[in-house]
């Protein structure tokens, strides 16, 4: 059974485990936490379409699988198209009486940032624009981690990756992260949210609402990657929490275009606290960190203006 009651405390999260152990994801992998909670929310009657990526290769090495749901992987760039196909088939087969029309079967697409921001963007856009009843979950570890930490459109400013190395002339990623939420918003879909595995009740509640949404929904979840971010295994939840507490990652929910910050941060921590835990930012000078701080300040201001309140406060002094 899918989760139908609102999630307010950790006790509202179903006990039943639907993400089988034995997969080969790293210790401290943010995506593993996300998948575990996602499968608790969607229950049995959901068909998963997954893009190529870390989660796909680590959970399905034949003849083993971590998935208790019907699960389909086609290729890297087409989770949106595959999910569209499953959803259209369910619609047609229900209408023709092949599948019980009263049975709710949700289609869930899962992809990483590469499969969403970059190579899969066209397929995602098509799926959103056509209004398929699909929930799309992005686990965003901010680079191509599966192939060995190459820069993606989701890589943040200043981050080291193997294709944005730190050299004498160039020092890490030169551009800020692509605005995926803005792209989703432009498609005017009914439900969009950002989430973090450091805030499980918030994350699960958002996944539940995305599941309940009729029409396309998108949940964008930050997913710390221990080897890619160069963090200690035991620090991944801490880093995910600091992303929120510094204002680098704002926990948002946009229902029918109306935005709301779900986890407010009255006093922000300086971004330095988030950056200094991660080897990928180790090279940053005070000047460069100040530039990132300024960028985050502007972002926070923009969010506050958008939601119409001071949801994220000033940096604590």
């Amino acid at each position: 059974m899918a989760l139908s009651k609102p999630v307010r405390t950790i006790w509202d999260i179903p006990r039943e485990e639907r993400f089988a152990p034995g997969h080969t994801m790293c210790q401290g992998c943010g995506a593993a936490i996300i998948m575990r909670h996602l499968t608790k929310v969607i229950g049995k009657d959901a068909i998963i379409v997954q893009a190529t990526g870390c989660v796909e290769v680590t959970t399905t090495a034949f003849p083993r699988t971590s998935w208790l749901n019907p699960w389909l992987h086609l290729a890297f760039e087409n989770a949106g198209a595959g999910a569209s196909g499953v959803e259209a088939a369910l619609k047609a087969l229900k209408r023709k009486g092949v599948i019980d029309p009263n049975r709710k079967i949700k289609v869930v697409a899962i992809a990483g940032d590469g499969g969403t921001f970059d190579i899969g963007l066209q397929s995602l856009s098509g799926m959103l624009e056509r209004g398929h009843n699909v929930m799309y979950v992005v686990y965003d570890n901010e680079a191509y981690m599966n192939t060995g930490i190459q820069r993606s459109g989701a890589t943040p400013l200043g981050a080291w990756t193997t294709t944005t190395p730190v050299g004498k002339k160039l020092r890490g990623e030169l551009r800020p992260k692509k605005d995926l939420i803005g792209i989703a918003l432009a498609h005017r879909i009914p439900y969009i949210a950002t989430a973090s595995p450091a805030y499980p009740t918030d994350m699960v509640e958002k996944l539940r609402k995305a599941y309940e949404t009729e029409g396309p929904s998108l949940v964008h979840i930050i997913s710390p990657c221990t080897p890619g971010w160069r963090i200690r295994n035991e620090d991944s939840v801490k880093v995910a929490r600091l992303a929120v507490l510094t204002g680098m990652w704002v926990l948002l929910e946009i229902v029918n275009g109306k935005p709301r910050v779900t986890v407010k941060v009255p006093k922000r921590k300086p971004v330095r606290e988030y950056l200094r835990l991660q080897g990928r930012f180790r090279h940053l000078t005070d000047e460069e960190i100040a530039r990132i701080q300024k960028m985050v300040d502007e972002y926070v201001e923009e969010i506050n203006r958008w939601v119409g309140e001071q949801a994220i406060g000033p940096v604590e002094g």
Partner: protein, 421 residues
Amino acid sequence: MSLTLEKKEERKELRQVVSKRIAATGNYAAALAVKDADVDVAAIYPITPQVQIAEKIAEFVANGELDAEVIHVEGEHSALSAVVAAAATGARAFTATSSQGLEYMHEMLYIASSLRQPVVMALATRALSAPINIWNDYADAFGMRETGWIMLFSENVQEVYDNLVQAFRIAEHPDVLLPVVVTLDGYILSHTIEPLEPLGREEVLSFAPKRPRGYRPVLDPDYPITVGTLGTPHWYYEAKYQQVVALRESKRIIEEAGREFGKKYGREYGLIEEYMMDDAELAFVSLGATASLVKAAVDRLRKEGIKAGMIKLRVLRPFPVDEVVKALENVEAWATLNRTISYGAAIEEPLFTEIAAALAVRGIVKPMASFVHGMGGRDIFVREIVEMYKKLDEIRKSGRKVKRTYFWGVKGHDPEEDQAM
């Protein structure tokens, strides 16, 4: 060869199941087959010269004549992705494309066949860019030879319809479960109006029933399985060998479908079609609508007293090797005529390499040659094919070895020059 009088009588009787004869383009015939097969999901991206298939299906759905979900995908890669996923969910799924569109979905061609999803696709054959060219040749179709699909070529509009009807039955057969592509020559069939005898939904669904016994969708919440897994070196090879066997064994089902189609509707289909081959000394192998031109050339040559014959490949994959070898065993010389080029290959016409290899491993070597013509919609005239036959005749008589493909009809170029290169 022409039918005997008795056979014609018999055909007339069989035709009683056919309700009407209409005039239709190849594109319309394809859309009609989709309607009659009661397709559940169609995802099609427009590309010339295939567009009318998408338009017509949309029209059928808009008028309530077909109850299907039409996905207006944003590209061909997504088109094939969506129909593969739809088939995995248990829907009868269809797409259509051409040329650049087929290339754009190329990655998914392998995935469709490897995941054993019985999708059916119509391919309006068309040249590949550059230069951009919307007219007919077989470069797109020949580019998908290695992708594990069953490939049926159509010679005329009726065959487009009949092949598609059979394609659904073949693809979804529990012993096959492979995708099937049906070609129609761009413009030459896609836009040409010919007589068509559609069978109607009742007949098509009795010939190609949906969800036949033993066929179950792979994505079922009550029986969850993981599809599209990671295949490590431990298991990948085994999966690939299963595909080899599946494609090989699909031959039996293709033959059975063609035979039964003939019994029921009077138009029998084999893996190949032989034309004037009983006593032929010179034989050409060709396919698609080009085969019609070769037949016309054979008729002319026969009038001149030259014993010419031809073989039409209806099925390119799985390659009907036994049938082709048997047909060519007794001729004195053979050649291929194709509308595609295999750049830099040992022989630059790809049909030839396959047939020559099939004959050679059986120890059959005789005068042979290969011809390319009709690239990018260049007209092939019957008189040119007659000349090709005469060239083959000369090769037979002189006993000289032809080591390179003849590129016929290139402006200002003597095809014999290639032999010296």
